[in-house]
Amino acid sequence: MSRPRWMKLARDLVLARGRMAMLVTALATSIFAVALMLSTFTVMTREMNVNYVGTNPASAFIEVDHVDEALLDAVRRQPNIADAEATSWVNGRVEVAPDQWVPLLLFVVPDFANARISTVSPEAGAFPPPENTILVERAVLTLLDTIQLGDSLTVQMPNGTTQPIAISGTVFDPSLAPAWQEQTVYGYITPATLAAFGEDTTLRILKITVRDQPDSVSAIETTVEQLTGWLTAQGRVVDEIRIPPPLRHPHQSQMNTVMMVFLAFSVLSLILSAVLTATMIGGLLAQQIRQIGIMKAIGARSSQIAALYLALVMGLGLIAAVIGILPGMWAARGFSSVVAQLLNLNVYSYAVPLWVYGALLLMAILLPLLVALRPIRRATRVTVRATLSDYGTTAAFGSSRFENWLSRIQGINSSVLLAFRNTFRRRSRLILSLSLLGAAGGMFMTGLNTSSAWQTYINIAAVDRHYDLEVRLNAPQPMEQLAALLSGVEGVAEVESWNLIPAAVARPNGLDIVRTYPDGGHGSFTLRSAPSDSTFINTPMLSGRWLQAEDTHRVVLNQSAFVLFSEAAVGSTITLLIEGQPVTLEIVGVLRQILSPAAAYVTPETFAAAAQIQPTLTNAVRVAMTASDPELVAAVTQRIEQTLGQAGISVRVAVSEVLLDNATSGHVFVFIVALLLIAVVMAVVGLLGLTSSMSTSVIERTREFGIMRSIGARSRTVLLNVISEGVMIGLMSYVLAFAVSLPLSFGMGAYLGEMSFRSPLPLMIAPLGLGLWLAILILGSTAASAVPARQAANLTVRETLAYV
């Protein structure tokens, strides 16, 4: 720093410390957000993988007539099979209050101590579970918040047996979505315990892991195909095959999508801050334009002066990086913990990869540098003559038609008029300020618009379902008898049959392969019978039409099912595997159905033919109640349970709207909170941008204020002039922000909707976003211009006219 040019830079920085502090704050805030999101993204992507892969997840689950030790030994010797184990799944129910039930998914584990595939880790209590006791997944205790380790659960099995079972321990199973999210109890028992419930203890699920390419669906499919062929040759009956996305947690895609959106927003905020840097450096250069001229007159080359200011920007970026990166990473620990808790994962290490540090440092330094290059280049290339003839009263005004039009505006307060004309005087900076504020406002509004669209979509999903309860049965029952039984329950308005049966996309090899995880929810695909005249669902069609009574061998797919068939279109045919048999159907329509797993809808007659059941039977009914308030739904559900129980009809699961609401809210909560957090960062950066812009404008016009004051302007006039200009810029940017928010909200909604629901979110304009940003702008622009305005108003005439 012994060279005077660097001393000059350092002292100039001290003089402009307020603006530089603002700049560093904006940059640091943005780099904080990027550090937070990028670190969380890398940590959670890794940890989710570590958690899931740590269970040694099965490559495939093959349902056969029975699995014994001899079969397992033989399977382990088949080509590309790394290991094989047996298990069973049982869908039961848990009574959480008298006649109030939640679904129970029981995993039957023959040998807890030596389990190697899709394993669980003991958390508390006994392991393995003593006979006639159950282990529950740890998140179950969050779902059933009144239940503790040692308490008993009242469990109902598919055979209707209902009896209490003690919770002897908790386990951690990261391969499942959290119990509270899915509103399902996950339990783990031994075959002996299952036998105590009178259930068949035959193990039917063959879990396998493949040796080569365990992350390749096609490699797994090939292995499974060979294995299935061998099993069939051995006289075994192979039913459903589940091949979940290999080595991917059920929520991996959603988490990646959401994190990518957050990351994109935070990078955008950094770009905004970089633009802000360019604005501020532009202002500093404007202030020093005469000094630049003098330096050039005494021998400085443009490159030498440019190097000074580029070093300044690099220095500021570095300071911002130091301030922003470490707290961002520290906050990422907290955010990762929250995300992990919401996804029921353990974070084994919060270590952030080294490349993240490098990337953040580069972003913090290079991005502002790149954006500031242009103003620095422009200012340092101005000729000495041009710089020395800059008298601080800024550029000539009145040389364009627009300026001439502005100059003809009369009849308003002269200070406001002057502010109005001043606003358009430095048009390049005005454009920069408007871009900055417009982009910040646009993103702020987009954050709230997307959040609102998401919420609206969930509401639409609820509104599209005009029933309050779906009851699935363990065995089909005569529909007429069932309808009569339920119609007699107080509070029931209407009952419809909505049969369901698991479906799979038919493959050339004839295998019944589904893409489902063991929980059966994520990635499931079902065939459903739908009364053609049903009033229970809205049928917003994406293409084609809804079912008609005479439709046989015709199908309507929802959008999640539609994407399973790569070349499907309305009018084309598809082949499903139902109970292992191919069923060919013509697509007549594609239904938009939000927050619903893949489903294919057919008429009851087509369903009966496909599922090979009598048309008079049903295994699921939907019930509309006389009112939809949660208390009534709970009470009527309780009465329905009692009625069915008394009739000896075993219920597999009863899913009410309230239960669905709880499940979906759990999925979106994190997303909305984080989106709003990013919107706040945008607002901060935008307002700092306006403050800097106004400071620069005031500094540039210091001499002009001197002239105004020398001809009689009072401090108030100067204040009013500057504040009017700030508010005017703020209001102009509002229109721009709104315009920016429309395509941005549309694009964001399309991306998020497609990733999450296979359907774009509607374009929503959140009045809250519009109102909040307007309030922020008016208050913020007044505050932003008040500080420089006060400085301008407090300067003496002598100080302002002597300004160099």
């Binding site: 005077p4 000059k8 100039d12 003098i294 007159a297 005494i298 021998g299 400085a300 000729t383």
Partner: protein, 238 residues
């Protein structure tokens, strides 16, 4: 036999120098075919009414502005052919400029202001720069002000500092644009003495001035009107 004196070598040669500007709808001719030669060691005054082209002329000589047509040769360098980067380097080493409002950089001390041209042009070893700055300040009589900021100095002291800065890289030519316009008569006289002393040391000084009562300091007196030279007088005018 009469002794032959060597002819003085020309330092500045202007040939057919014309400068026009567009001002809105019409062309304004600031300089109109100027031909002028100034020899080394001369102390030249350029006078004329406001708008006569005085400042434009010295901007041509320093390369601050470029001619519309014609040639500017300074110490055999075709200044009109240099680009901005070349001009900056050339100017730093060959021309010292003194402005009417001093134009010292406000955040640097007086000594630092003097070191800055040496720093930019890399003309003296780093360790010798302060010593040279102090020497120059002593020469202009304000060595005791070396570590003060410009705002702490009087107008006359600031102008002396500006002259010292102009000498920092030991250029053969000093160009001053109304350097005494902001000074009182006593300080003006001291500053003019300084310039006269420099010409005696062999420097060439070209100065724009309005003040005819300084005429006795100059060796040449050029009068401009409407962008043309209307008088080019050698020695003290009558």
């Amino acid at each position: 036999m009469a002794q032959m004196h060597p002819a003085p070598s020309p330092l500045i040669q202007l040939r057919g120098l014309t400068k026009t500007y567009w001002t809105g709808a019409k062309v304004f001719t600031a300089l109109d075919g100027i031909d002028l030669t100034i020899d080394q060691g001369e102390f030249t005054a350029i006078v004329g009414r406001s708008g006569s082209g005085k400042s434009t002329l010295i901007n041509m000589i320093t390369g601050i502005d470029e001619p519309t047509s014609g040639e500017v040769m300074v110490a055999s360098t075709p200044v009109h052919q240099l680009n901005q980067e070349q001009l900056a380097v050339w100017r730093g080493k060959n021309v010292g400029i003194v402005f009417q409002f001093f134009q010292l950089l406000p955040t640097l001390t007086i000594a630092e202001n003097l070191i800055l041209p040496m720093d930019f042009c890399n003309t003296y070893p780093v360790r010798q720069r302060r010593e040279r700055a102090l020497h120059l300040l002593e020469k202009v009589g304000i060595a005791d002000q070396a570590d003060k900021l410009p705002a702490d100095l009087s107008g006359g002291q600031q102008q002396r500092a500006a002259i010292a800065r102009a000498l920092a890289n030991n250029p053969p030519l000093l160009v001053a644009d109304e350097p005494t316009g902001n000074l009182d008569s006593q300080t003006t006289d001291a500053v003019m003495q300084l310039f006269a002393g420099l010409t005696a040391e062999g420097k060439t000084v070209v100065m724009v001035t309005h003040e005819r009562d300084l005429a006795h300091f100059f060796t040449r007196f050029i009068t401009l009107a409407d962008g043309r030279i209307v008088a080019n007088e050698i020695g003290v005018p009558a």
